[in-house]
Symmetry: C2
């Protein structure tokens, strides 16, 4: 089993013992795969992560992509790593067996990507975003579009991007101005400027398929304002003829590269559509095709964003995990200081893992990184249930639950994953603040995840303003029922019954505060509390995840070593002693908030 930046035994335990990944194999793959073969696949992913991704982690940071004469130049190791992922089939894991894929659950894909992201999130982000695009095309495109623009992504030949934000419309997608003008029976010509396009320009794939949010004038030439008037377009970098040969570059140009704090191997740029820079004729417009219904681009867009958000949460967990593993190794080796009770200055120095304060920092990292990983993988399993559950009701339930938990998993992992990376640096001390230590870069990398794919503030409004109101609150009821099953199991257990009771109290409080906020006659006051509410919600959910994981660990019993179990138990205890009470405190404060305390003059800041 190769050493990796994700604790391998924990990953396998979560996948197989807790989430039963092997039960979600696609039809054709059932005879091909079992736990052992999937474990061998994880070995391959871990080896690839170490050999090709981790090996260029610092390189990709030091030599960020640069724009030269309209072309992007980047360090060749990134290309090599991506081509190795492609060649080993890691773009096509979830594709049906019959179509050349491996027919594996989303869960297994996410597990592999966690290994990749822990080794090099910037590089792993290219396929992660590309796959989100491809699956959106798969869900909403025509058969020809799927063949031409989704299938090549699953073989790693084509990459994808999301072109959503614009300068005047960062978090406010309803304000985007890019226009798509009909051109013939099916095509459109796009004109506009897009920002923050991750993976927006490079030469590492045969083609790049951009999914672009734009507006189409109605029959009278008017634009429908707001999110209702949005449509999603498939706009390839290279336009191909029917015979598949490239004929021309589409009318898209790179107008700038963002130099970022971290994730520097992932090119992030501004793109201009329809500036005519590549076409002698001038303002021709970028050729594109509608994906999903006209003026109702929100549905395919949400699929795209939800998958990207799930990926963001997973990556945040993986980066946190990498910091945890690295600082843990250091703490075992680095000797410094003595026990508080040691009075002799001549006694040998001890490994810093023996200092309680260092242990606390490591244990907190374990709570955050493993909690975030478990939550992300749980959400991945919901994706699998959506396609494989035996009846429509169960599939629908999985969808609702995944919709509800996506902003929670994204934000919780980003917030506490960053905190974990902060603590990793702290364990290293001065070394952790230098470029010679990967923990330094991990911290910078993870800072992105609270912003990309919608900030915490946006996700909080999404949770409180939309997700909780889905189908009259069914999603929250479903979550409550699911958590209740864990409480029943915990109730049977001598030690864990106490944790169960504690969780039940927190759940009760969360339900009460949720009702209060949703029924507040002053919705503005309620919505002002969305961010702390999201934070507390996340903590209650992760408290449940930890309890469920430990119950499973206890149940599996003989298969888990005592040390493995003791570690999970220590993390659970820590979470229930130090973390869950903070969430309860926040919820109590939310319940008491009588007035909107943010109402004071702007000049008073």
């Amino acid at each position: 089993m190769p050493t990796s930046l994700i604790h391998r035994q924990t990953l396998e335990f979560l996948l197989f013992d807790w989430l039963k990944a092997d039960q979600y194999l696609h039809h054709g793959a059932k005879q091909m795969h079992n736990r052992a073969s999937l474990s061998a696949l994880l070995d391959r992913a871990a080896n690839l992560a170490g050999d090709k991704l981790a090996s260029c982690y610092r390189q990709a940071d030091e030599h960020e992509p640069v724009l030269e004469n309209g072309t992007v130049r980047m360090t060749p190791e990134i290309r090599n790593a991506l081509h190795a992922m492609r060649d080993q089939g890691f773009f096509g894991l979830t594709q049906p067996f019959e179509e050349g894929g491996l027919g594996l659950p989303v869960l297994i894909e996410r597990a592999c990507f966690a290994l990749f992201a822990a080794a090099n999130p910037a590089v792993a982000a290219y396929p992660q975003i590309s796959l989100a695009c491809a699956r959106t095309i798969q869900s909403w495109g025509t058969p020809a579009q799927i063949t031409q623009y989704a299938a090549p992504v699953f073989t790693g030949k084509m990459f994808g991007t999301m072109c959503l934000a614009e300068q005047q419309a960062g978090s406010s997608l309803g304000d985007i101005e890019t226009r798509a003008i009909p051109d013939g029976p099916a095509a459109y010509r796009l004109f506009g400027h897009k920002m923050w396009v991750a993976g927006g320009a490079h030469t590492m794939a045969d083609n790049i398929v951009h999914l672009v949010l734009a507006r189409v004038p109605d029959n009278h030439g008017n634009l429908i304002p707001g999110v209702r008037g949005l449509s999603l377009f498939l706009v390839p970098a290279l336009i191909r003829q029917a015979n598949g040969e490239a004929i021309a570059q589409n009318d898209i140009s790179v107008t700038g590269i963002n130099r970022t704090m971290g994730y520097r191997g992932l090119i992030n740029c501004s793109l201009s559509f329809g500036e005519g820079t590549h076409r002698p004729g001038g303002k021709a417009g970028a050729i594109g095709w509608l994906i999903g219904p006209l003026h109702r681009g929100l549905a395919p867009l949400l699929q795209l964003m939800n998958e990207a958000r799930a990926g963001t949460g997973l990556f945040a967990a993986a980066i946190a995990s990498a910091g945890y593993q690295l600082s843990l190794r250091y703490a075992r080796e680095r000797r410094q200081g003595r026990a508080w009770t040691e009075k002799s200055a001549e006694a040998p120095q001890i490994p810093i893992i023996r200092h309680d304060d260092v242990r606390r920092m490591l244990l907190r990292q374990k709570c955050y990184s493993e909690g975030a990983l478990a939550l992300s993988l749980y959400c991945a399993r919901l994706s699998d249930e959506e396609s494989t559950a035996p009846d429509a009701d169960l599939r629908r339930h999985a969808t609702l639950l995944r919709e509800l938990l996506t902003p929670v998993a994204k934000c919780w992992s980003a917030q506490w994953g960053l905190q974990a990376n902060h603590l990793a640096i702290q364990v290293f001390g001065g070394v952790g603040y230098t470029k010679q230590c990967a923990a330094e870069q991990l911290f910078r990398d993870n800072r992105l995840n609270a912003i990309q794919q919608g900030t915490h503030g946006v996700q909080a409004l999404e949770l409180l303003g939309k997700k909780l109101r889905l189908e009259d609150g069914t999603a929250l009821e479903l979550l409550g029922e699911t958590m209740h099953k864990t409480l029943l199991k915990a109730g049977q257990h001598t030690v864990l019954a106490a944790h169960g009771k504690h969780l039940a109290r927190a759940m009760h409080l969360l339900a009460r505060v949720t009702r209060q906020l949703l029924t507040d006659t002053q919705q503005e006051r309620a919505m002002a509390q969305a961010s702390p509410y999201l934070e507390a919600f996340g903590h209650v959910v992760v408290a449940w995840i930890w309890l469920d994981v430990v119950l499973c660990c206890e149940h599996v019993g003989g298969n888990t070593e005592p040390h493995f179990f003791a570690g999970k138990m220590a993390a659970l205890d820590y979470f229930y002693l130090w973390e869950l009470p903070s969430a309860e405190l926040m919820l109590n404060q939310l319940a008491q908030a009588g007035k909107n305390t943010m109402h004071f003059p702007d000049q008073s800041f």
Copy 2:
């Protein structure tokens, strides 16, 4: 009044209305200065900060110092900024009027340095560290040493450094191995390797005076182990003859430069003493002289470290303040989205400061940055009281209180200052994650402050293990008495009486938990809680600071605008609603902690 990265009205209010800075002028300066002239000095500092320091903030980050053939090359703007500070007399603010200084209180120096640090902490750190060295030499050196090595620092001609840590002894100073061998009646020859020397090598001053921690063999040639055997040495980079002319480089060489996450304009290097690289004869050793008593270097070392720690806290507050001011300006200008209650997609977008979630992020920054600044300035005033209070008892009390509060101010400012900088990025959104936004750099810069001059973990042991036990707990009693005065004033007030009662409860709880930890029969168990204890302690102290500031604001009344007061009141309310309860929760958890929850097998991580 020049715009600056510290809210100027707040700074003046804290200095003059709250802390009465003008009452701490030195003897000779009393006729020269008053509030108006000191305010004019702050104008000069703010202008200099803007013109020379802020202007090269990004430059200093992008072009970090490099080592070329044993010489350090750095961007010339840093030199220009430092020479401007020197030429305008900012190195000598606190020196006696009679000796060419301005005879100003430490408080005013710190206020000026807060302005400098907000503009460019890496550059401002050179004089900050240099002054700590000079004052240590002033306290412990001979008159000749003071003339030769402290006086030139106060005129900005010589810079200073602290050479403490070694590879095998990072946080454990008792394990340092650098040796000092007597050479003649007064001099020593030093041999050893030092790490993390900030400002350790450059050509921006006529000379650099290093304060070096080392061990001297006793009469039998043996070394005394542990901190008891440490001595502090003055080791200049250039050795001068009695006539003042440089004759030779001392036997010190730069062995490496640390490339750091932030503070990149401040060179941070490893130095080798006594390698003989600069002296043809070989292993001659670096010439140095004892500062303070032999084998009892801890006393001068503590003075040096305490001042450096106070500076670290102040700088963390200043960096937080810069992020707050920048994100505040952005929030006022940037239009994005609409009110939750606005149903029309065609309504114009609103400045993001109108969104409650953004307001919360700004208000939190205000709480943290202004709270940290107030606490740091309060500690500076204690330094002034130590030298100016009318009787010895009061001076002694000021010392005890400053000793107690130094680790608290350092750690609280570093922890919550970084959190403020995190929120500043979040207000900017995607832009905040790019190099075009200073908030990105501020966050990286402030990450250092939880590490340098002793990590949180080290400071926590210092607080619980030493400072609280000083003179049988007198320091904590004094703090309690001081806080009690605030409670009495609050009790008279209709609105603030409630805050006072809340604070009194928190103080009572803190006192109870402190007693419990100090008298715990298992000191190892108690010391394992040092870090959360320090964190909670800091929150209670800052809650007191905020209440005292608002009481003063209320008292000054007519002099403060209503908007100014409303802002302070909003911050106070926020702190008491959301922050102080977290500290109380932590203290309650500490009180309940029955066993050391960090006791589980190392293999379980």
